[in-house]
């Protein structure tokens, strides 16, 4: 199973800055191993964000997003104590959801 994400959601004025780190290889499929065999592509394809269970953003990624991906965005009209949850799904169908509380 994939390792947990690290989500930080901090109030800055009337909005919350959300920073997410995800543990994922983001293998492009274009690299070869030491034996010269192609390493199969393995990367996150979709990421979705919810604010108190309401979908607020969804992203589609290709294999060019860096390993152990970072994502930052700002939530409007958030307040301390609100819930932010992030879900990713990769090209193998693996998925992970983690949440954080706005502080």
């Amino acid at each position: 199973m994939a390792d947990p994400m690290k989500i930080r959601a901090q109030m800055a004025g009337d909005k919350a800055t959300v920073r997410v780190l995800m543990a994922h290889e983001m293998e492009t499929g274009q690299r070869k191993d030491s034996a010269g065999k192609a390493i199969p592509a393995w990367y996150i394809q979709t990421v979705s964000a919810k604010h108190n269970d309401k979908p607020v953003m969804s992203a589609q990624w290709g294999p060019a997003v860096a390993k152990n991906p970072f994502l930052q965005f700002n939530l409007k009209g958030a307040k301390a104590g609100d819930k932010v949850s992030i879900t990713w799904v990769d090209n193998k169908g693996d998925t992970r959801t983690d949440e954080a509380v706005v502080s």
Binding site: D3, P4, M5, K6, R19, L21, M22, A23, E25, M26, A66, K67, N68, F70, Q72
Partner: protein, 267 residues
Amino acid sequence: MKAWKAASLLGALAIAGAVGAQSKSTADGIAEYRKMLEDGNPAELFEAKGENLWKTQRGPKNASLEQCDLGKGPGVVKGAWVELPRYFADTKRVQDLESRLLTCMETLQGLNAAEIAKTPFGRGEQANMEALAAYVSAASNGMRMNLPQAHRDEQVMYELGKRAFFFRGGPMDFSCASCHGESGKRVRLQDLPDLTKNPGDGIGFAAWPAYRVSSGELWSMQRRLNDCYRQQRFPYPGYASDVTVALGVYMGVNAKGAQSIAPAIKR
């Protein structure tokens, strides 16, 4: 984090001063790039994994590492990293963090330390070692390097480490000192800390373990030294071997007073 910003700024100024106006923009650009990465250091992912591993009952003895003595008493993690390597009475050896973790994994959890030492970096229990190193070092983030030198064996290891540091060999005649024996130098665009003295807060020994952007992995000092020796074109240093621990003592003692920013983020 603050220390790191100051450090990268200082580094940038040093480069600008050393090589003049033409490359000033290059140095500024690199400093800007490093600053942009500070805001989300994936080392945090390893830290979280390491904390979980520390507290999880594992191995044939089904025990956690919570009773592991890293030098400040069983279970004390905070402040341990900035005093390692140090002498341990139970093993009668000077040990660095990784060497000590191996001892704990063997004695407390019943895992096979020799097997783990032989495992390639980033795989199996070695991946766990990196996470544990991230966790332990993070607990001393912001503290100052303060390796003990009271025990005779610690003093001997310092002297041996110094000799290893200056040891030239291999087809390229490199020693650690070839790159890290002078201030203000760089390889390509990377600043090279002078490790024969305290190179400053958050620089050199006080900046490892670190997340390596180039490999997307967490590198403990053992792995850092291993790759240094690879680039020196030397034979392969054993994991937690005496030469690696001695170098840790030499660099760590020289860095006395430097503020640790581990786990840092590096190219």
